[in-house]
């Protein structure tokens, strides 16, 4: 356990040093978040007193920023693992890592730490935006933020590990990550209320874990809902996680075994 933590910490340090050598990337990332916030702020001036937003006191700015924050977390979960696998394959380091006694789970966990830290900075910026330019949030709702974001992240990590399993076999042609990310962005209700969708899409939206994360977080932060309104979202996310996480680990393990058998681990 201690060695695993040391390895996770070493991977995070490695990523910090590598990413730190591309200094402008951090600045670009901060600018992107700021511009997104500014766009949403301007849009919020146009969307006033919409009946679909009545439940959230009509404020589009807070409504959309909460959705975007959850989507940031979802993207972190779904894209980190497969992009790391692709990176290790293309730079030729995957095989030497797999030849060390480091468990695959530790490699995956370690490579998640640095992107998680960057995403946390994004979330802080979104929070600052809501407090500085919006009507703020219910402080009591912050209690639910961590479990809702963590459960949403876990379910998207499961999709991410499944995507990584496919990347091991199909290299850059991962058929899972792109479509799930795109559909989640549209259907989860991140930037517009799901209630505005046609019935079919309203039903389909409930297939994606982000829907529950976004709905739960909006209820917690933007309304006076109590525990009873948020609990169903948490329960559904727990069910998603219980179903998807073991499945994703099993798939990844199988794909590694297949790649070891066919000798295609390092191909890209």
């Amino acid at each position: 356990m201690v060695r695993d933590l040391a390895r996770i910490s070493a991977i995070a340090r490695r990523d910090l040093h590598i990413e730190g050598s591309y200094r402008l990337r951090y600045v670009n990332r901060l600018i992107e978040v700021a511009i997104t916030g500014a766009v949403v702020y301007q849009l919020s001036k146009l969307i006033v007193d919409s009946p679909q937003l009545a439940r959230y006191d009509g404020g589009y700015f807070e409504f959309a920023l909460v959705g975007l924050a959850v989507m940031t977390v979802a993207r972190l979960g779904i894209s980190t693992f497969n992009s790391n696998i692709v990176r290790e394959q293309t730079q030729g380091t995957l095989e030497v890592l797999m030849a060390t006694p480091t468990r695959v789970a530790v490699l995956l966990a370690g490579s998640f730490v640095f992107p998680l830290a960057l995403t946390a900075i994004d979330l802080v910026l979104y929070s600052v935006g809501i407090v500085a330019f919006g009507d703020g949030v219910r402080p009591i709702g912050l209690l639910y933020t961590v479990p809702l974001l963590a459960l949403t992240l876990a379910s998207f990590c499961a999709f991410g590990v499944m995507g990584a399993a496919l990347v091991v076999l199909t290299k850059r042609g991962d058929p899972l990550t792109g479509p799930i990310t795109a559909l989640t962005s549209i259907l989860s209700g991140a930037v517009f209320p799901v209630s505005t969708f046609p019935l079919v899409l309203r039903v389909l939206a409930r297939v994606f874990p982000a829907y529950y994360g976004i709905h739960g977080l909006r209820e917690a932060l933007l309304t006076d809902s109590g525990w009873r309104r948020i609990a169903p979202d948490i329960v559904v996310l727990v069910v998603f996680d219980i179903a998807l996480l073991p499945l994703s680990v099993a798939l990844f393990s199988r794909s590694l075994t297949a790649a070891r058998r066919t000798g295609t681990l390092s191909n890209f």
């Binding site: 390895r7 030729g92 095989e95």
Partner: protein, 264 residues
């Protein structure tokens, strides 16, 4: 001790979902190794020679747990590569011929410190061992991003990485390919010293003088099978070492698939 018994390997053609989703180099089964037997004792340096595509890299990947053999048995210090892969990885050092297998945006020192921890050293041990090895391979004074290293420097760093955890078996796939003769000779001497410490060394190389100078024994693989296993003097006979090895390696009666080496 490294023991390879009756190992065969065929790169299977892609099947099922994989076949549908990605184009691969070959759509047929490609036989790479056939009934290979090999033994490297502690303190011994065994040279693995063979033409391109003979199956040397395939064999090394099997030994280092990166590839499962189709049949046969491989053990490293008594640990089976299939069923005790983690234990094998703790006692085996691997140096691949691909000098990309380093983090080019890290310094040489940071590469070694990172891989030391991955091999199971503590951070402090890893830092100390990185210092020691950078001195050994002559890179201590030139610590900068690997991106700025020459090919030879990257080769030396790869060798240092393979030695980080003081492995009991060291497998090197053409480690001196990119080195000048002087640097290659230094690496050869380093491998001899490593073997004298009781490490079993399997060295793949195309440099005949290196094989003759460094190795206690030579195993020649031609067309996926062992064609010779003995000392350089046994091979040399009347015609001399270089000529005898040349004759041996060009005696392949099977069409060699160039893409066998990485199974693509």
């Amino acid at each position: 001790m490294l023991l390879v018994e009756d190992v065969s390997h065929t790169y299977g053609r892609p099947r099922g979902l994989q076949r549908r989703l990605i184009r691969t180099a070959s759509n047929t089964d490609v036989p790479a190794l056939s009934n290979i037997d090999l033994r490297v004792a502690p303190g011994e340096v065994v040279g693995l020679v063979g033409p391109n595509g003979a199956g040397k890299t395939t064999l090394m990947k099997i030994i280092s747990t990166l590839l499962e053999p189709t049949s046969g048995h491989v053990s490293v210090c008594g640990f089976d590569v299939k069923t005790q892969a983690d234990s094998v990885r703790q006692v085996l050092g691997l140096v691949l011929s691909d000098d990309r297998a380093l983090y080019w945006r890290l310094t040489g020192r940071r590469n070694l410190e990172f891989f030391g921890v991955m091999q199971g050293l503590t951070r402090a041990q890893s830092i100390a061992r990185a210092d020691e090895l950078l001195q050994s391979v002559g890179l201590a004074a030139r610590d900068r991003l690997v991106f700025g290293y020459s090919s030879g420097m990257r080769s030396r760093l790869s060798i240092a990485r393979g030695l980080l955890h003081r492995p009991r078996v060291l497998v090197l796939d053409e480690p001196t390919r990119a080195l000048d003769p002087v640097a290659a000779m230094a690496i050869g001497q380093m491998l001899r010293r490593t073997a004298e410490e009781g490490v079993a060394v399997l060295l793949s190389s195309h440099r005949l003088e290196e094989i003759e100078r460094v190795c206690d024994r030579i195993v020649a693989i031609v067309g996926g099978g062992v064609r010779f296993d003995g000392t350089a003097s046994e091979l040399a006979g009347q015609s001399g070492f270089a000529q005898a090895l040349h004759d041996l390696l060009t005696s392949d009666d099977r069409k060699v698939e160039d893409d066998v080496a990485d199974g693509s």
